[in-house]
């Protein structure tokens, strides 16, 4: 029953620009005419340094910020407000400390005024899938950072979103927890097969997780490289990290950053 083989959502972005108006008339072009088509059910990572517009891209896709020009469509629907098919995971877990784990996961259901009782079993199931069975009645303050981010992921998945947006979700975690979360995210995605847009500044996790890596650079925010990652799945931590192709992909991305002066070779 749990094996929900849902289709991921298709994303179609065309000529998308975002200009931030500043007080001194020198407007910042955060995104410059981005064209991007994302296949349903694919895992796309966006990697780039701070200020390259990757978070702006996510915010536009989430419907939180209006585009300056251009358009975004999720499964054909134009996005101007948060789309019901999207779930978002932010860098910090953003759990409400006065709610139990279960009530945090059910928050989107409450907000959409759906039958909370119906989704309770689904929430418990999600918790079990991320290794937190029996933690439903705990409060966020009783959980570690990694556990909290798992709960945040469950909350984003409760409505089985066709499009999962993740904004540097593991950025605040320690290295060991991060490694475990990357592995868990992969198995979760292999089960759900929804469309994932994963924003990160970690080249290694982008290549490890994604089917496709978009490399962005700032001023103006543009996609410099659209790289298809052809590594067998499920990817295993040590095996993939020893893979020659894996290293070739990482080198190719690093080369872009070096050429742009974002990474300086010594």
């Amino acid at each position: 029953m749990s094996a929900t083989t849902q289709m991921g959502a298709a994303v179609d972005i065309s000529r998308l620009s975002k200009i931030y108006k500043t007080r001194e008339d020198d407007d910042v072009l955060a995104l410059d005419k981005i064209d991007l088509k994302i296949e349903p059910g694919s895992f796309v990572a966006v990697v780039g340094p701070s200020g390259c517009g990757k978070s702006t891209l996510l915010s536009l896709l989430a419907g939180l910020t209006p585009a300056s020009t251009g358009s975004i469509a999720i499964d054909g629907d134009g996005v101007s407000r948060p789309h019901p098919k999207t779930g978002v995971v932010f860098q910090s877990d953003l759990l409400l400390y006065w709610r139990t784990v279960l009530d945090n996961i059910l928050l989107p259901i409450e907000i959409k005024k759906l039958d909370v009782a119906k989704y309770r079993a689904r929430a418990e199931e999600l918790l079990a899938q991320v290794g937190l069975a029996g933690f439903g009645n705990k409060y966020p303050s009783e959980l570690s950072g990694g556990m909290r981010q798992r709960v945040a992921i469950c909350r984003a998945l409760i409505q089985e979103p066709g499009l999962l947006l993740m904004d540097e979700p593991f950025g605040a975690l320690d290295a060991l927890t991060r490694e475990q979360m990357i592995m868990d995210l992969q198995s979760m995605w292999l089960r759900l097969r929804n469309t994932v847009l994963f924003i990160t500044h970690g080249i290694d996790e982008a290549v490890f997780l994604a089917d496709r890596v978009l490399v962005m650079s700032p001023r103006p925010g543009r996609v410099d490289l659209d790289l298809k990652i052809d590594l067998p799945r499920p990817r295993q931590w040590s095996k993939t990290h020893e893979d020659k192709d894996y290293h070739a992909y990482v080198r190719q991305i690093r080369a872009i950053f070096e050429a742009k002066g974002i990474l300086v070779a010594h």
């Binding site: 407000r81 999207t86 932010f90 953003l94 409400l96 006065w98 928050l107 079990a128 409060y139």
Partner: protein, 276 residues
Amino acid sequence: MASTDVIGAAQAQKKQGKGMSRKKSRGPWLERYSALILAVVLLGAWQVLVPLSGLSEFVLPTPLAIATRIVNEIPLLATHAYVTLFEVVAGFAMGVMIGIPLALAIFYSRAFERAIYPILVALQTVPKVALAPLLVLYLGYGWAPKITLAFLISFFPIVISTVVGLQSLDKNLVNLVRSMGASEWQTFFKVRLPAALPNIFGGFKVAVSLAVIGAVIGEYVAAERGLGYLQLQANSLFDTTLNFATVVTISGLGVMLYFIIDTIEARVTYKRDAAK
């Protein structure tokens, strides 16, 4: 089944945890009851030192004499306490009913905030106590000036703490619920208000203690009933023991109201660090 195992383990852990905390708290019992012990020691010293110092009970009654007097005068103290309690609660309730909407207006409207904040701060610098004679002049000798004074004095902390509570919210939490499609109405009730509650209750606690002061000051100026009035009566009769008994009753009233708010707070909010 696996899930019951987990729950069982969690319960076992809980029990263990309880046992541990009991063991821990058994040692430093001095720490737990230190406030009570100090209070008893101080009262004891007072009790013993009054006769030793040669001070007459007429000037400084002993704690036991005050306690006895309170017990004997319960009907009298209660009659006046009811009056003061009514004034305090009414003034505080007005402070909440006017302070919270005002705080919301300040929070949601930049223009309103700019307009009202300087006036609020200016009003706050006026010593409310100095307004008491004027209030009596305008509102007479009844409960109206006392309630007004209790309101004026308790209103400011309620407004400020509510505004601060609402403004200190993590902006990302608003983005989170907006990404779920929440309206501003939902954002307010699901996130803004619950997150501001600890601040708001902090303001309530300060406000209710101040409201007691406001009401009693109002009674000092002109009254025919109330604990402030009773204290003035005791004063004019040189009944120092009754005077002290009234002071104890007034502070008892404040403590009681404080704990009522504290209890309500514990029921409606979850403290961030309660589990630690």
